[in-house]
C-alpha cells in the first residue's frame, strides 16, 4: 500500500501575525515564516527515526469528500519511484529559504536609515566575498589575512558555538581543541581581512549557542583540521544534530542546568541544585503570555517584510553576477 505524502497545513501569513504564538490552538505541525533565529527551535526533520514526527493529523487528500482524484485510477509507476518522488516533494515543501540572522535589527530606539545603510554595506561585502549559510553547530574553516603567519594567511577549522550582533559588526566564535588545548576565536563576518569561509559540515543544533562545550568532554569540541568538506545537497533541509553532550565534573564556568539547554546531559547535577533551577526559569504560562512578548517583538511586520525583500533582491543580484562570471 503506497504511503501518500500528507499535505502540511500552512498558516496563512496575512491572517494574523501573532499566529505563531497561538500555534497550539491549531494542529501541531504548522509552518510559520522564517523566524529571527536560525537555531533548531523550528520544526525541520531531526535525525531521530520515528516516522510519526513528520506526519500531520490532517485529513488526507483521498478521503476528502470534494476530491475527484479519489475516483480516478492510480498511476502505473513502480513503488520505488513513487516513494522517491514523495520523499523529494516532502523535502522541497519543508525547505525554507535561508535568511541570514544579522540583517534583523535588535530592539531599542534605532535609526532606520542607518540600519538600512549598514545592511547595504553587508550586501556589498557579500558581492566580493562569499559568506555561506551556516548555523551554530556547523563546522567551518576560516582563512584570514595574518601579517605574522607564513604565506600571510592563517586557517582555522572549528565548530561554530555562537553568532552575535547586527549588520557589519556581526561575529561568530569558532571552537576547536588543538594538541589538547581548547581554543576559541572570535571572527567578524564582514571584516575585510577574511579571505574565505568554507562550511565543512552544515548542520544545526538544538540550542541557540554552544558555550557549554567549554565544560563538556573535549571529544565534543575536537575537529580534525584536515577535515574534508561534507557537501550539503542543495534543496535539502539542514539536518538538526540532537546530540546530548556529556560534561566534565563540576565546577563549570556557568550553572548550565539553569539555562534550559537541550544539548547537554545534566543528570550528574545534584538534587539540591536542580531544585533551584525552577526559580531561574520562566514558567510555561509566562512563556505563552502575549503581553510579555509584545514589547520584545520590536520589529513590525512591515519592516520585516521590507528587510526580507532587500535580502531577496540581493540574492537575485548575486545569482546574476555569478551567471555572468561563469
Amino acid at each position: 500500500m503506497p504511503r501518500i505524502a500528507f499535505n502540511f497545513v500552512r498558516s496563512v501569513g496575512k491572517a494574523h501575525s501573532l499566529h505563531k504564538y497561538n500555534c497550539r490552538l491549531c494542529c501541531g505541525n504548522v509552518r510559520h515564516f522564517a523566524s529571527q533565529d536560525s537555531s533548531g527551535k523550528d520544526e525541520p526533520p531531526t535525525n531521530s527515526k520515528s516516522p510519526s514526527d513528520n506526519e500531520v493529523d490532517a485529513i488526507p487528500e483521498r478521503l476528502s469528500p470534494d476530491n475527484k482524484a479519489a475516483t480516478l485510477p492510480a498511476p502505473k509507476i513502480s513503488l520505488d519511484l513513487l516513494r522517491r518522488r514523495q520523499a523529494q516533494k516532502k523535502d522541497q515543501e519543508q525547505v525554507e529559504k535561508f535568511i541570514t540572522p544579522e540583517i534583523y535589527p535588535p530592539m531599542g530606539r534605532r535609526s532606520k536609515i542607518l540600519d538600512y545603510l549598514e545592511r547595504q554595506d553587508c550586501f556589498k561585502r557579500r558581492m566580493v566575498m562569499d559568506i555561506p549559510e551556516f548555523y551554530v553547530g556547523s563546522i567551518l574553516a576560516v582563512t584570514m589575512a595574518d601579517p605574522h603567519a607564513n604565506g600571510k594567511t592563517s586557517r582555522l577549522v572549528g565548530i561554530c558555538i555562537e553568532r552575535k550582533n547586527y549588520g557589519l559588526g556581526a561575529s561568530f566564535k569558532l571552537r576547536n581543541v588543538i594538541d589538547g588545548q581548547g581554543l576559541e576565536v572570535l571572527y567578524e563576518l564582514y571584516s575585510p581581512l577574511l579571505h574565505k569561509l568554507e562550511v565543512l559540515k552544515l548542520e544545526k543544533r538544538t540550542d541557540a549557542h554552544l558555550l557549554y562545550l567549554r565544560d563538556a568532554l573535549p571529544e565534543y569540541s575536537t575537529i580534525d583540521p584536515d577535515m574534508i568538506a561534507i557537501k550539503h545537497p542543495p534543496g535539502r533541509p539542514v539536518p538538526v544534530n540532537d546530540i546530548v553532550v556529556k560534561m566534565k565534573p563540576r565546577p563549570w564556568h556557568r550553572r548550565w542546568e539553569r539555562y534550559e539547554l537541550k544539548g547537554l546531559d545534566v543528570s550528574g547535577v545534584s538534587q539540591s541544585r536542580m531544585a533551584t533551577v525552577q526559580d531561574h526559569i520562566l514558567p510555561e504560562y509566562k512563556k505563552m503570555d502575549l503581553l510579555m512578548m509584545y514589547p520584545r517583538y520590536d520589529i513590525t511586520e512591515k519592516d520585516r517584510m521590507r528587510i526580507e525583500r532587500e535580502w531577496e533582491v540581493h540574492q537575485n543580484e548575486l545569482e546574476r553576477t555569478a551567471k555572468k562570471g561563469s
Binding site: R110, L114, L117, C122, R125, A145, P192, L194
Partner: protein, 364 residues
C-alpha cells in the same frame, strides 16, 4: 502683600485658563462645537490677564478636520521652496583666504557605525545627519555678541530640523519668517570671518564638509541627575571599615582654616551631573553620504541618539593645501557629487579583501 496676592491669582488664572484652553482646543480640533469653543475662548481671554498669556502660533480653528490636516502639512512645507527671489538680490560670494572661518552645522546623532581602514584595523564612527539645515541670519561684526577672546567677529545663525508651528511660541517665529524658512527646532550662533557671509535662507548640506577634514562636535551629555562627589568629581571617598562613622562617600575637608575662613568659589561639591553641552575636538570625517546627508565622524560624540550635535571646523585642519567649500557647498555649482564620499584610507565594502604582501627576505 496685596501686589503678591494679585500676581498669585493672575498666575492661577493663567494656568487654569491654559489647561481649560487645551481641553477646548482638543474638542475644537475634533470638529465639534466650533462656535461654542470660540465664544468660550473669547470670554476666558477677557476675564484673565492677557499680558501673561503665551501666544501660540495657532492656525484657524474653524477649519474642518480634513482641512486642518492639509493646513498642517502645508504649514510645514510652505517655506521650503527656497528664499524668495523678490526679497533680496543674491549676496556676493567671497573666496577662502588663510585665516578664514566658516560656519558650522547642526546635526542629529543617529548612532554608531563600524568601519575598517585599508590596513585592516577596525574602528568605530558616529553617524550625524544634517536634517533641514538653513542659515537663519547673518550678524555683522558690530552687532555680534562676541567676547574679548573671539574679538569682533561676524556671526551666522544656523537652524536645524523643521518644527511644527503648533508648538512654537509666536514671538520666536519672526526670525524664521524673515529668512523665509520653515520653523526650526534649534538654532545655534557660529562665529565667522567677514568674508564667509551666507545669505539667510541658504540650505546647508553635509557636503559643507569633506572626508579627511577634522571637526569639533558638541553634544549634550547624558544627564545623570544629582550626583555625589565621588561620581561627579572622582574623589576617593573614605574607607568602608576601620571605624568610619557614617562617612564613606563624602567630600571630606572643604578648605583652609581661619584664613581664608571661607570656602573658595568653585569648590567641587555634589550637584547636577551631565545634561551639558560638551565639545569633542579633532574628530576625523571618514565618510559622507550625500543622499541622506550623513557625516561619519571617528570616535564618540556626547549625547544620546536623536539628540542635536553642533559641528564646526577644527583648528588643526591644513586648509592651505586644500581649501574647503567656501563659504559653504552650493549644489548648483559644479558637477553633482557621487552618493558616497570616502576617505582615501577607508576600506570600501566593494573593494577586494585585504591581503598582506610577502616581504622579500633580507640578505644577511
Amino acid at each position: 502683600m496685596q501686589k503678591k496676592r494679585k500676581m498669585a491669582t493672575s498666575w492661577c488664572l493663567t494656568s487654569m485658563r491654559n489647561s481649560l484652553l487645551k481641553v477646548v482646543k482638543f474638542s475644537v480640533i475634533q470638529g465639534r462645537n466650533t462656535q461654542i469653543g470660540e465664544n468660550f475662548v473669547q470670554r476666558l481671554k477677557a476675564c484673565t490677564c492677557s499680558h501673561l498669556i503665551q501666544h501660540r502660533s495657532y492656525y484657524d480653528n474653524t477649519l474642518t478636520s480634513e482641512n486642518q490636516k492639509f493646513v498642517y502639512q502645508w504649514n510645514l512645507l510652505k517655506h521650503q521652496f527656497g528664499p524668495s527671489p523678490l526679497k533680496d538680490s543674491p549676496w556676493p560670494r567671497q573666496d577662502w583666504k588663510p585665516g578664514s572661518k566658516r560656519t558650522g552645522l547642526i546635526a542629529v546623532k543617529l548612532g554608531m557605525y563600524p568601519m575598517w581602514t585599508k590596513s585592516g584595523k577596525k574602528f568605530v564612527t558616529t553617524a550625524l545627519q544634517i536634517q533641514d539645515c538653513n542659515v537663519i541670519r547673518y550678524v555683522p561684526p558690530d552687532e555680534a555678541p562676541g567676547d574679548d577672546q573671539t574679538g569682533k567677529n561676524a556671526a551666522i545663525e544656523v537652524g536645524a530640523k523643521n518644527a511644527s508651528p503648533l508648538y512654537m511660541d509666536k514671538g520666536l517665529t519672526h526670525k524664521f519668517h524673515d529668512a523665509c524658512v520653515p520653523l526650526k527646532q534649534r538654532t545655534v550662533l557660529f562665529y565667522v570671518t567677514e568674508n564667509s557671509t551666507i545669505q539667510p535662507g541658504t540650505p546647508l548640506y553635509a557636503t559643507h564638509f569633506r572626508p579627511g577634514m577634522y571637526v569639533d562636535c558638541c553634544g549634550k551629555t547624558i544627564g545623570k541627575g544629582f550626583q555625589g562627589v565621588m561620581k561627579r568629581w572622582g574623589m576617593k571617598g573614605q574607607p568602608a571599615s576601620h571605624g568610619q562613622t557614617k562617612t564613606h562617600r563624602r567630600m571630606g575637608a572643604t578648605g583652609g582654616g581661619g584664613s581664608p575662613g571661607r570656602i573658595w568659589k568653585g569648590k567641587k561639591m555634589p550637584g547636577p551631573m551631565g545634561n551639558m553641552w560638551r565639545w569633542t575636538r579633532c574628530l576625523k570625517i571618514w565618510r559622507i553620504n550625500t543622499r541622506h546627508n550623513i557625516i561619519f565622524v571617528e570616535g564618540n560624540v556626547s549625547g544620546s541618539k536623536g539628540g542635536f550635535v553642533k559641528i564646526k571646523d577644527s583648528l588643526n585642519n591644513r586648509f592651505e593645501n586644500d581649501p574647503p567649500p567656501f563659504p559653504t557647498h552650493y549644489p548648483e555649482d559644479g558637477d553633482a557629487l557621487p552618493e558616497e564620499l570616502y576617505d582615501e584610507d577607508l576600506h570600501e565594502m566593494l573593494q577586494e579583501s585585504i591581503a598582506f604582501e610577502e616581504e622579500e627576505e633580507e640578505e644577511r
